[in-house]
Symmetry: C2
Subunit: 328 residues, 2 copies
Amino acid sequence: MGTSKGSSLLREIREVAERVDAFIHENFKAFPDFLQKACLHTVKAGGKRLRPFLVVKSCEICGGSSEKALPAAAAIELIHTFTLVHDDIMDRGEIRRGAPSVFVKWGIPVAILAGDLLFSRALEVFASCSLDPSTKFEVMAEMARVTSSICEGQAMDLSFTRPKEIPKEGEYIEMISKKTASLFASCCKIGAVIARADEKYVQALTQYGFSLGLAFQIVDDVLNIVGTEEELGKPVASDIREGKATLPVIKTLEKKPELHKLLLKEALEDSEVEQFINAIRECGALDECRSMAKAFVEEAKRHLEPFPASRTKALLLQLADFIVERRY
Amino acid sequence: MGTSKGSSLLREIREVAERVDAFIHENFKAFPDFLQKACLHTVKAGGKRLRPFLVVKSCEICGGSSEKALPAAAAIELIHTFTLVHDDIMDRGEIRRGAPSVFVKWGIPVAILAGDLLFSRALEVFASCSLDPSTKFEVMAEMARVTSSICEGQAMDLSFTRPKEIPKEGEYIEMISKKTASLFASCCKIGAVIARADEKYVQALTQYGFSLGLAFQIVDDVLNIVGTEEELGKPVASDIREGKATLPVIKTLEKKPELHKLLLKEALEDSEVEQFINAIRECGALDECRSMAKAFVEEAKRHLEPFPASRTKALLLQLADFIVERRY
């Protein structure tokens, strides 16, 4: 980024993040100390808070106040955190956001419980906000629906780990649609619903969020391979080490099927990981992934066309570009 | 039971159970096969469906139809199942309802995911029922609140496993209030809310459910010691084997503190389990527990006094007696 436009986006993201974090901390005070720490560990370790930002800005672009959107934004971040805490147990992801993950620090039982509590508390906290009951119902129903979708996506993702058959690109897109894009879409939808926007705008923002989410996940999978440990907050190429068939991996295996056996190995040597990374870099898979992400981002931006020019619209357009340009 | 009164109660419970089960099966069809099986495994293995029965009958006693209460009743059973699936991972409970538990059959990752999906799907299924949005909001908020309470109770329960200090009876009551009684209370409250009952009746039923839940858990803990493997659907005295300080155990350790060291042992010999059971039987702890359960059941029944005599009221009174008299 580095441009003044870019830094204003990052400043705005940080500003929403601070308000969301304060709201979250306020709402976990009542719990026993170890449970509170286990629940908030992943939140405190970092994260960009893009999802709450989407909730707040989608509300604003439809004429709603950020104040009104804040409880939903916080609830969405808690739901996202719940899925991270449980995913780390399932994928044996020992490092997250530069810190040991919850199950490493407190054990599997507490990590399961912390995830469960993050989810129920997300809904509970949102339920006690001052919106009218029928809006709250609509938002909570959306939160339940999207969580089911994320679980379905994660179930597919489990079958993408050390897969006997190389998954098709279409299956990958279906998986990330459910696991990632659905939540981005819900964030935007929820913001618009809270603003009581017309159906046309709710739809447009939902589609913006969905395309943005697809781009986000593809870029995430690319960064997992090309990013540094510092940028990633976890070991380089952790996906390959875990045997995950992400898009760059699928594209590479289409060209070099002989590498499939490496993906099936339980514990790869560092030299084998390097061999895999080099193959991905050399075969053009990364450029293809970036092009796909770029295309989804352009699609996302087009979905904002119905909205008149505004500061918030400019931010959402910048955010789309940031999604593909980011290094972390 | 055996009396004609008793068998009519059991017949009514079975009737609600069948409708709830049909509703549940209908609503998990869309999922991938292994996930559907993992989610419904515990439901199919058995269970009395007392919680959905409470939802339905609490709605009926307030003049609402059982039809209206059915989606909430099913959602409550799904939430209960979700907590069982996750608890079994945490407590390493390998047998549940006479069958291998979900994590034994499908592994920890799928069991975590199945639990998460049971919870989100419970809310999602309920959200799509035909009640008005503000009632649905109220019910979903209650479901979120009670799930947080169950998680808190389970967190306390984890600290009751191989405890360095013997927990106090008051702490045990607090733990089962959060873990078990809160859900029984919510079942009754939700039924009453769906019937749009006056606050006075909502309160009375909530308190009935709460007292009933306390009695239920105490009896459950007694049965865990005195029941047969066939009645329990899991090994006899599994709580003692897992090192859990339940009420009969706490009462026994108050009298025979020298047994505390057995509770701390990782793997008890069968003879040590037998020694513990004999100590519990001989010191009068079981009778004390039964008396406490009986007192809570009488309290539960008193909370029904505001309701005029009716067939449903008679069933709820019988249910209270059944809770202490049951052998499974």
